[in-house]
């Protein structure tokens, strides 16, 4: 493990920011303040942060419909994100995209995606750019267990292999695609699928930041050094429904309570760093308070922010027309 104290503090801050952001969006959605379809990443923080801690400004990621966590992990501004989710004019995408389309290309974040399987081909393209222009960059596709069954994803595995692209496919397996269990929907195993396409596949405990970080570091180094694509099968849990408003009747009685109790990425991180005496609890509590303050501000500013107006309706369709 090559993580400095600063790295650990950043990892915790990012994970806490995601959790606080998502918990708050959940509450505000329930109050009726947030429009549209909203898919929350709470519970999956260790994956996005564990992967993105290995990336730098040269690197690109493509996300899914469950994209808030990936955005924060790649350095998007939480306040501008919140405004976007509220549909406001100075949101990250001018209020035109919303939760499912948050993007910040200046941060290498190529967008959440409303189309399951939309990201993997795009990431092959980003990796092709990096390879062609010799930027040294790598590209990461986050894919759900459900998205792992999309043709675009499987075609991308092959393309990335035969073009030897610097790609990491991160299959975030939270056990469900909507109501359908990944145990049913995924034929074969993610790892063996990767191997069948000629790339390494690794199974990772997605509740453990350190496990994700280590596996991702190897995969990113593999890609960066020109060895081509690889796949991480990250097993984790989502704390909320598929989208906000989902009653989750397909889950077992007490399932969510139990996983929040026993497999919470933030709790596990706190325990690990305190037991190893890497960080003090007080520092972590301080981060919690700061993050809460930030998200409070983000919500207050978003509520107060002006919406786009008629003059914004026809803009942004083309570069020139």
């Amino acid at each position: 493990m090559q993580l400095s104290r600063e790295d650990l503090l950043k990892a915790y801050r990012d994970m806490r920011t995601i959790r606080e952001f998502e918990d708050r969006v959940h509450d505000e959605f329930a109050k009726g303040g947030i429009p549209g379809f909203v898919h929350l990443y709470a519970g999956e923080e260790a994956s996005g942060v564990g992967v993105c801690m290995n990336l730098d400004d040269r690197d690109k990621i493509a996300s899914t419909h469950r994209g808030h966590g990936h955005c924060i992990a790649k350095g998007c501004d939480p306040k501008a994100m919140m405004k976007e989710i509220y549909g406001k004019r100075d949101g990250l995408c001018g209020g035109k995209g919303g939760s499912m389309h948050i993007a910040d290309l200046s941060r290498g974040m190529m967008g959440a995606n409303g189309i399951v399987g939309g990201g993997p081909p795009l990431v092959c393209g980003a990796a092709l750019t990096a390879k062609t222009l010799k930027t040294g960059g790598v590209a990461v596709a986050f894919v759900g267990d459900g998205g792992s069954n999309q043709g675009t994803t499987l075609e991308s595995y092959n393309l990335a292999r035969v073009w030897n692209l610097p790609v990491v496919f991160v299959v975030e397996d939270n056990g469900y695609a909507e109501t359908t269990a990944s145990a049913w929907s995924v034929g074969g195993s993610q790892k063996k699928r990767a191997e069948a396409f000629g790339m390494p596949g690794t199974e990772v405990d997605g509740h453990d930041f350190f496990a994700v970080y280590d596996a991702a570091r190897q995969a990113v180094e593999f890609a960066r050094s020109g060895d081509g694509p690889s796949l991480l099968h990250v097993k984790l849990d989502r704390h909320y429904g598929h989208f906000e408003g989902d009653a989750m009747t397909y889950r077992a009685e007490g399932e969510v309570e139990k996983l929040r109790q026993d497999r919470d990425a933030l709790k596990i991180f706190r325990t690990k760093v305190s037991e190893a005496k890497l960080l003090e609890t007080g520092q972590l509590d301080e981060i919690d308070a700061e993050v809460k303050e930030l998200i409070d501000q983000a919500v207050a500013e978003s509520e107060a922010a002006p919406p786009p107006g008629e003059e914004d309706l026809l803009t942004d369709v083309y570069v020139s027309y």
Binding site: G36, G114, I115, M248, T249, R251, P308, L313
Partner: protein, 335 residues
């Protein structure tokens, strides 16, 4: 006869046809739901509950949940249709046609012709469309003009619960591939719907209002808006005929032309983007076939040539409204 929602009307049509014909099957993502999961079976019945209750009655052999592999399962529905089943496959949002369109337009839509008339592909693709849900650019499009463009496909847009039930039963019994488009903001609309099965033929427009001054042709949810406008303007002495073609392919051109011959004035209301949509198609038809009958230029009411925006304020500006339809009717009526 009883009061039923748009959702219930479609559900009832599916259930009645499945009872009648064992070759009818239903498939789609989470059409029952809960497959392999520890909790409730039939947990969703489709993302907005349209297929709820079918799996408990007909079993998972006839209500198939699918992986997120539209190209494979829509294609499988095409292949099953060509070989003896009558599948009703759900493409959850029409926007997802992008990942499976080949199976629809190059395969299903062309079998009959390419195979010299020998193939029969009795497929229904049910799919949600339309703006107003704050669902943003990739979950709000109309896209029916694209299907309409393809010879071999039939394209249905029900405008009310009554229409939905009769058109769905017709779609299932029809021997051609049918794209059945359900406007997502209409699922809770209610009206009296017969309990027994009935069909509404394709290519026969419905006149939801009759009047002598202006013809309004509209599709789906826009029929409802146009009816509101007709009712309002009637009180002011502008009487409108509202034509709901019900299907964009086949299109009941005779009725449209007859109505225009009567009124001499035409407004076409289309929620699809304005280039190459139904409004331009019908305007061209009328300009070509009934130019002499026109007393005023045709008006089209459509959204702008942009993707559907997320922000509620922008989306409300994007969607054609009764106000915009009313303004167009007044303009062509010269009132």
């Amino acid at each position: 006869m009883s009061n039923k929602s748009f959702r219930q009307a479609i559900n009832e049509a599916l259930a009645q046809e499945m009872r009648r014909d064992p070759a009818v099957i239903v498939m789609g993502e989470d059409n029952a739901g809960g497959l392999g999961a520890p909790g409730e079976d039939d947990a969703w019945g489709g993302v907005l509950g349209v297929t709820k209750g079918l799996m408990p009655e007909f079993g998972r052999e006839r209500v198939l949940d699918t992986p997120i592999s539209e190209s494979a399962f829509i294609g499988a529905a095409v292949g099953a249709a060509a070989t003896g089943l009558r599948p009703v496959a759900e493409l959850m949002f029409v926007d997802f046609m992008g990942v499976c369109f080949d199976q629809i337009f190059n395969q299903a839509g062309k079998f009959k012709y390419m195979f010299g008339g020998k193939a029969v592909t009795p497929l229904v693709v049910r799919t949600m469309f339309g703006a107003g849900f704050r669902a943003a650019s990739q979950h709000s499009q109309c896209l029916y003009p694209i299907f309409t463009h393809i010879p071999g496909l039939k394209v249905v847009i029900p405008s009310s619960p009554y229409e939905a039930k009769g058109l769905m039963i017709q779609a299932i019994r029809d021997d051609d591939p049918v794209i059945f488009l359900e406007h997502k903001v209409m699922y809770d609309d209610e009206e009296e719907v017969p309990d027994e099965p009935y069909t509404i033929p394709f290519g026969e427009a419905n006149l939801t209002r009759e009047g002598g001054d202006v013809t309004i042709v509209a599709f789906g949810r826009m029929v409802q808006f146009s009816n509101q406008v007709a009712d309002k303007l009637e009180k002011e002495g502008i009487s409108c005929t509202v034509v709901d073609p019900r299907t964009t392919s086949p299109l009941d051109t005779d009725t449209i032309l007859e109505c225009v011959a009567d009124t001499g004035r035409l407004v076409v209301v289309d929620e699809a983007n304005p280039r190459c949509n139904m409004a331009t198609d019908i305007s061209a038809l009328v300009a070509q076939e009934a130019f002499g009958a026109l007393k005023a230029p045709i008006k089209m009411v459509t959204p702008p040539h942009t993707p559907v925006p997320f922000s509620p304020q922008l989306e409300d500006l994007y969607i054609p409204t009764p106000e915009k339809i009313e303004a167009a009717v007044r303009a062509v009526a010269g009132a």
